[in-house]
Amino acid sequence: MKNRIRACLAIRKLVYFSQTEPRSVRGPIAIMKVLLNAKQIGGILNKLATRIVADTPDNVEIAVIGIRSRGEILAQRLAGTLSKKIGGEVPCGTLDITLYRDDLNSPKGNAQPKVRPTEIGFDIDDKIIILVDDVLHTGRSARAAMDALIDLGRPKAVRLAVLVDRAGREFPIQADYAGYKADAKPGKLVQVLLKESDDKEQVIVE
């Protein structure tokens, strides 16, 4: 018994000292609230796909384009689901909007935008483009994405599909397909974590 207690204490010490910074430096622990779990995310994507198929006329081709980087993953999943529902392959591409951002010349904070390739291996002309992003917040990313898209061609229509729709719009932009309406106070961060990029799958809010 005594040995066991000693072992427990040792482990606790180990855990405590293995933390690189003392607790006081790390600041108050942000309380994270889980809005959606993996199963709910899967269900929402499935519902979005159903709605998209229902809205799309038979004689028009659709294609899915995701905004880097979380939108890219969601777009690939959505394209997979859509392909099954339609019974034909729905092309999928990735759009990098860095070069179209409106804050390039007035950068804030330390996160320098990184330019990555836009990978759209098909012609977007005359297709209905489903533009996919993880969170719709200010609408600035969607604005940039639309500018980027029309530099690549002239789609028949562009529809915006997002996993999470939260308040705080700064541009006159709304989602055509919103998976989940999140209630988050201004300044709080709504984060979508996906297993391909973050090793776990959930939507959290600070």
């Binding site: 980087s69 320098q112 990184k114 990555r116 390739p117 836009t118 690549l152």
Partner: protein, 323 residues
């Protein structure tokens, strides 16, 4: 699925000038190359223009002749939506006796944001960067550096070979007068390649043993071993004295001929910074052959220069916010 943002090894680009590759870390060089990847696709679009440098003014300040580099920079700048002013020595106030700094200060008074400078004096871009607020990009200074050429060379190699780590690279020809050889050397060795300078002793620079390279005086000794061979032009305009007995003799010993190519690795990359002297340092059949990546170098040069202009402007914008 691989998420690409993990590829960037450093958080941000912080230099508002690109003066040379010697001072850059391997991570910084990789950062530029990764950024350039994002610009490559733009040149394949129908509308080859993107907005990030809208309203910015780029000056091409060239005190030496150049077609490729000057046009490549002008094209890169205009694809980024910047305005470009061309300034060449012949038709400028320099011929009336104006100094470099006065020229630059006058241009700055016109509100330039980025100066792309080529100068026959080594160190001129560094000098300029100390006296003006605009970003300075070195487009070749004396025998010192030609950083964007070095970058586009390693970009081309990395794209075709996957990595530079462990590759054996020969740079052949007039090393002594070549800024390309120097920038190549810094970029290639920093990224893990083994570089050999090849040329007649008269065209190998003095104190070469202080540089991170091997030296060979015989192309025949190295041709079988290398993965990449970069043929330099004999720069007659810079040569003093008689570095080799005759052009024919040079070509015989150091030219990349069809005969020599037969002994090279089948997947060797043949590079040349241009302009080519056909039949001198390289035979036409080799320059146009299947191992030649000379034109790909030119194409990649635009993406690399777009990345450089974008990054220095970004660093300048961030510095302006800080102060």
């Amino acid at each position: 699925m691989k998420i690409e943002n993990k590829k960037f090894k450093i958080e941000k680009w912080e230099r508002k000038h690109l003066l040379g590759l010697r001072e850059l870390s391997a991570e910084e060089i990789t950062y530029i190359l990764d950024t350039a990847q994002g610009f490559e696709e733009i040149s394949t679009r129908v509308v080859k223009k993107i907005p990030p440098l809208r309203g910015k003014l780029v000056v091409n300040l060239f005190f030496e002749d150049s077609t490729r580099t000057r046009n490549s920079f002008a094209l890169a700048a205009s694809r980024l939506s910047a305005d470009v002013v061309e300034f060449t020595k012949k038709d400028s106030s320099v011929s009336k006796g104006e100094t470099l700094l006065d020229t630059a200060r006058n241009l700055e008074a016109m509100g330039i944001d980025i100066v792309v400078i080529r100068h026959n004096a080594g160190g001129a871009p560094t000098l300029l960067s100390k006296y003006i607020n605009a970003c300075v990009v070195n487009a070749g200074d004396g025998f010192c550096e030609h950083p964007t050429q070095g970058l586009l060379d390693v970009y081309t190699i990395r794209k075709l070979k996957g990595t530079l780590k462990g590759l054996k690279i020969a740079i052949v020809g007039d090393i002594a007068h070549s800024r390309v050889a120097r920038s190549d050397m810094w970029a290639m060795t920093k990224l893990g390649a083994e570089v050999t300078f090849v040329g007649p002793p008269t065209l190998i620079p003095p104190k070469v043993e202080q540089l991170p390279v091997k030296v060979s005086y015989s192309l025949d000794d190295v041709i079988e071993k290398v993965d990449v061979i970069n043929m330099l032009r004999i720069q007659f305009e810079r040569l003093g004295g008689n570095p080799f007995p005759s052009v024919r003799e040079y070509s015989h010993y150091f030219g990349l001929t069809v005969e020599r190519m037969k002994r090279a690795k089948p997947d060797i990359l043949v590079m040349h910074p241009g302009p080519i002297n056909r039949g001198l340092e390289i035979e036409s059949e080799v320059a146009d052959g299947r191992n030649s990546v000379i034109l790909q170098q030119v194409t990649n040069g635009i993406a690399v220069r777009m990345a450089v202009l974008f990054l220095v402007n970004q660093a300048a914008a961030e510095k302006a916010v800080e102060t």
